[in-house]
């Protein structure tokens, strides 16, 4: 069940749109911010708020890359695997994170903190190799920098904004 507070906020957000469906992504993002991913129950409730059927919302949820329909860790680490990052050694970044967190690509760390996923170009090619963690982008990645970021994230419960 979504908390009433959130539902209230979402209803308000939806009321401000040209048509309710327009807010489908925002609604799912807001729910993910709170619960990490879109569970079946969350889908049903979100669809109802949006005046959509669960299937109609699923059509969108499964289309997009940043909507998660299976559980993810608190931080979703998405390492860019497109051309420039590829050129600048994205595989080393993946291998490093993978071994540091002892998870394969697609896995979630035992403590439930991190999920590792690939992502296509995130528009930080000038700082390749780069990754995006939840909303925040980290570029010019080196093992040291990755260490720093992961430690910080593990320590800090909450964060937002960008580098």
């Amino acid at each position: 069940m979504l908390p009433d507070e959130l539902k209230f906020k979402l209803r308000e957000m939806i009321a401000g749109a040209e048509s309710p469906r327009e807010k489908a992504i925002d609604v799912m993002f807001a729910i993910q911010e709170l619960q990490g991913w879109m569970s079946d129950e969350a889908m049903v409730e979100a669809a109802e708020l949006l005046g959509m059927t669960p299937l109609e919302l699923e059509e969108l949820a499964t289309f997009y890359d940043y909507i998660y329909r299976s559980p993810v860790g608190r931080y979703v680490i998405k390492v860019c695997d497109s051309t420039v990052c590829w050129l600048q050694g994205h595989q080393r970044v993946i291998d490093y994170i993978s071994s540091r967190l002892s998870i394969p690509m697609g896995g979630t760390s035992a403590d439930g903190l991190f999920t590792l996923l690939p992502v296509c170009c995130i528009g930080y090619c000038d700082r390749a190799p780069a990754m995006v963690v939840n909303n925040r982008v980290f570029g010019n990645l080196t093992p040291e920098k990755i260490d720093r970021v992961l430690t910080q994230l593990a320590e800090k419960a909450d964060f937002s904004g960008s580098e």
Binding site: E56, T62, F63
Partner: protein, 833 residues
């Protein structure tokens, strides 16, 4: 009209014709997957590529996306185009499983055809094939996603065309999936069309699965006789059983599609399918007998009755289920033998409504389903299209998709798969609302409508004066005033007797106001139009027969494809009347109560085994060809009979009309059993039939049997005066017995395949009414009628009219406990349990 050249042949086509259709007119079928005439072009599959050599487009382009234009020169056989199409097939086959041998689509698969004709035979792609998890989609449709070629037809049909929202495209790229949010029955009662429309075997017909191959089937053009619309079907039979029913294109009637009741409701016709055994053997006093023995014995018994009491002691009853042949035969027999009847209607209300609908319709105002699709304003009065004539609801949706406003005026909590405005109205209010809506739209022009319409206008004006219209009505009247092709869909089940004529007059008024207004009635059954045509002479209905039996005037009853026990609202009275009969002769294909009680029973053949004519609710005469000869299906390892016989086991049946002719005896000796034919006896009963197909006689398929122009009916004068006499207790609820798409019809009662989709019955009532008597949604109540009580769950909504209780004539419970019909129930007779 653009002229173009396709493959060196010239053709002129109407403006807006796609090149793919232009080619088809020349008999050139350009391969396609995503394109479908009913769904339009979306350019997704890229299979219809052709080369444009001259004209505004050049090079290889999709023929489904380009309108034919003057000066185009198109080649479908150009090497580059052929190569491209071949590549599309190769791409589609990269992931397609090679499971044709176990796929039910095999043999009628567009993908198979185009793979073979395109010459793709070897898979160059060496990667793995993608696989999906399938979903459970309910009792009718089996899902096999691996076979999908992503043409989007299913989603476009399901969501856009049919208006349901639980099946669609999921995911992205080559991971695309077509399915539901989670496993579960498809919500659309048009889901069977997925089987026809999917170009591969993703959706197959569960009821037919693994039983047959296309080429093993006997196929015939047939009809659906489950409601009054007369949708065209293709029946498929194999080894003396109907295996499946598909939609058959008819541009005026059902287009490309069918409803699920029509598609899956054939299992009653197959003997040997479990507990609902179709009675295939003639019976004398319940014991099996040969056909000859049963028919002779029945004839002799009837002769005895006639000798003893006179021929008027014999009565004949048919029904809305009869083919027109059976109806005409009943008519012929009664006329020539002086039997009572035939009666086709259950009561006077029922009869008058159908008759006034048929009389009120003329060739000018009657519209087909196709024309409903083109209407720009639709008013639905006293009709529940989705339940009473499902494909009508689909036609309505097409109008709504083109922004036609749809208004429903009905006591039931109507649902339609499109946007519409519902005015809950008890039956006696329907005419008033309709009158207001129409009058306010035409009022300003009324002065020039002329004499015929004068009184009607005056009446409407007075009605409008007398009461406040519901909010929103004024706005809708304005929209109605500005439209040009409005249509009224009028039902005949819950309406007053006067409503059909009133609706017809409203249409005429709209026509006087310069609109191409049309009228579309829904009738009780596939044979209703025919019954009405033959019911002119005496005013009798089955209700009168019951009295005649009770009074001893009738001693013998011949029932042809009719089950009074299913329809008659007072079961106890019917039972006692029937037990008074000295002789009950039943001819039918259902194992009905009437059949069970019959002294003589003769099994008649179904629509699938006999050529049958049906006249649909717009007066269209159509013919269903037999698809097989019937008999016990050879299936399931039943051992063949060991006794030698040249008869087909279980094949000892005749069309009802032939059986009727035989039991009635042959007064003129020339006409032996073979000496009578529908070609002669149909026009004898209905001379107009002859004119339909000058010189070609019988069968007739297609034309409409309507008078040229009927004129104002004028019955509206009685509209309020004739309304049901006020109840003694004005607080009492009016009990409205209604049809559901699944669960109420005789077909539904005897087809296990339809049972699967039938929901549990519930009683709908208005929320204010419910609050007044302390009921909540979901409560179970006991409703006490004069003849006893029944229990039912309550469904509360403010979309149900006040003052009515809406109950389906569901076969899962005994509702036939009404001494009067329509019945009224006072609040204290409804107890919460």
């Amino acid at each position: 009209m653009p002229r173009l050249i396709i493959d060196e042949r010239e053709i002129e086509v109407p403006e807006g014709t796609k090149v793919i259709d232009a080619a088809q007119r020349l008999g050139i079928v350009i391969p396609r997957f995503c394109y479908h005439e009913a769904l339009g072009s979306v350019g997704a599959c890229r299979m219809c590529a052709v080369k444009f050599l001259q004209g505004p487009f050049k090079g290889v382009q999709m023929s489904c996306m380009i309108d034919a234009r003057d000066g185009m020169v198109v080649s479908t056989t150009d090497e580059e185009a052929v190569l491209f199409r071949k590549r599309v097939i190769e791409l589609l086959m990269m992931n397609h499983p090679l499971d044709c041998p176990v796929c039910d689509e095999g043999g009628q698969c567009l993908l198979q055809d185009e793979t073979v004709s395109g010459g793709h035979g070897r898979r160059r792609f060496r990667g793995p094939k993608r696989t999906y998890r399938d979903q459970y989609l309910g009792p009718y449709i089996k899902h096999e996603m691996n076979r999908c070629i992503h043409c989007y037809r299913c989603a476009r049909f399901y969501q856009e065309f049919a208006g349901y929202r639980d099946l669609g495209p999921l995911r992205i790229g080559d991971r695309m999936y077509f399915g539901r949010f989670s496993d579960g029955s498809l919500e659309s009662p048009f889901s069977g069309n997925l089987v026809d429309i999917c170009p591969t075997g993703v959706y197959t017909d569960t009821t037919a699965r693994f039983k047959l191959r296309r080429w093993e089937l006997e196929r015939s053009p047939s009809l659906c006789n489950q409601c009054s619309l007369g949708c065209n079907t293709a029946a498929n039979a194999h080894h003396r059983g109907v295996m499946r029913v598909e939609a058959r294109f008819n541009s005026e009637v059902n287009g490309y599609f069918l409803c699920d009741a029509g598609r899956f409701g054939f299992s009653y016709s197959n003997g040997g399918t479990g507990h609902r055994e179709r009675p295939l053997s003639p019976r004398i006093a319940g014991a099996p007998a040969s056909a000859h023995a049963a028919l002779t014995a029945a004839r002799e018994a009837l002769d005895n009755i006639a000798a003893k009491y006179g021929p008027r002691a014999i009565a004949a009853a048919g029904s809305h289920r009869n083919s027109f042949e059976s109806q005409c035969m009943l008519d012929l027999i009664c006329r020539t033998r002086d039997w009572r009847g035939p009666v086709f209607f259950w009561g006077p209300e029922d009869r008058r409504k159908t008759l006034s609908a048929v009389e009120g319709l003329d060739g000018e105002i009657a519209v087909s389903m196709r024309e409903i699709e083109k209407a720009d304003f639709v008013i639905v009065v006293g009709a529940d299209p989705l339940n009473e004539a499902p494909m009508g609801a689909l036609a309505l949706r097409q109008a709504a998709r083109k922004n036609a406003p749809v208004v429903t005026i009905d006591p039931r909590p109507i649902f339609l798969p499109c946007g519409f405005e519902h005015f809950p109205a008890a039956p006696e209010k329907i005419e008033r609302y309709l009158g207001m809506l129409v009058w306010k739209a035409v009022e300003k022009d009324a002065a020039r409508f002329g004499k015929d319409a004068e009184e009607f206008c005056r009446y409407l004006a007075a009605e409008c004066e007398s009461c406040e219209p519901p909010a929103a009505m004024a706005r809708l009247s304005q929209l109605l005033a500005s439209c040009s092709r409005p249509a009224i869909i009028c039902g005949t089940d819950v309406t007053l007797q006067t409503t059909p004529a009133f609706a017809a007059d409203c249409v005429r008024l709209l026509r006087l106001a310069g609109k191409q207004a049309g009228l579309f009635f829904l009738l009780p059954g596939a044979g209703s139009f025919g019954s009405a045509l033959l019911s002119g002479t005496d005013d009798k209905t089955f209700a009168d027969l019951v009295e005649d039996i009770e009074a001893g005037r009738v001693r013998a009853l011949v029932v042809g494809e009719s089950d009074p026990f299913h329809h008659y609202p007072d079961r106890a009275r019917l039972e006692s009347a029937m037990s008074k009969l000295e002789l009950l002769v039943a001819i039918d294909y259902f194992p009905s109560e009437t059949v069970r009680r019959a002294s003589f029973f003769y099994p008649s053949s179904t629509i699938f085994e006999t050529g049958s004519t049906y006249i649909n609710q717009e007066g269209r005469v159509q013919f269903a060809h037999p698809v097989h000869c019937g008999g016990v299906p050879i299936r399931g390892g039943e051992h063949p009979p060991r006794v030698y016989s040249d008869l087909v086991p279980g094949g000892d049946h005749l069309p009802a009309w032939k059986a009727l002719w035989q039991i009635a005896g042959t007064p003129d000796k020339d006409a032996g059993p073979g000496g009578i034919s529908p070609e002669k006896f149909i026009p004898a009963a209905l001379p107009a039939f002859d004119g339909l197909k000058a010189g070609h006689g019988y069968p007739v398929d297609g034309p409409r049997l309507l008078t040229a122009k009927a004129g104002f009916q004028g019955k509206w004068e009685r509209a309020s005066a004739d309304a049901r006499t006020g109840p003694e207790n004005p607080e009492a609820f009016e009990l409205l017995m209604v049809e559901w798409m699944f669960g109420t019809s005789e077909f539904s009662a005897w087809s296990d395949s339809l049972d699967a989709a039938a929901a549990a019955p519930h009683m709908s009532m208005n929320s204010k009414d419910a609050a007044r008597i302390g009921l909540c949604d979901g409560d179970t109540v006991s409703v006490e009628l004069d003849g006893g009580a029944f229990e039912i769950v309550v469904s509360v909504s403010d979309r149900t009219a006040e003052g009515v209780l809406v109950i389906p004539r569901h076969h899962s419970f005994e509702w036939r406990k009404m001494k009067d019909s329509p019945a009224r129930v006072s609040a204290e007779k409804i107890r919460k349990i």
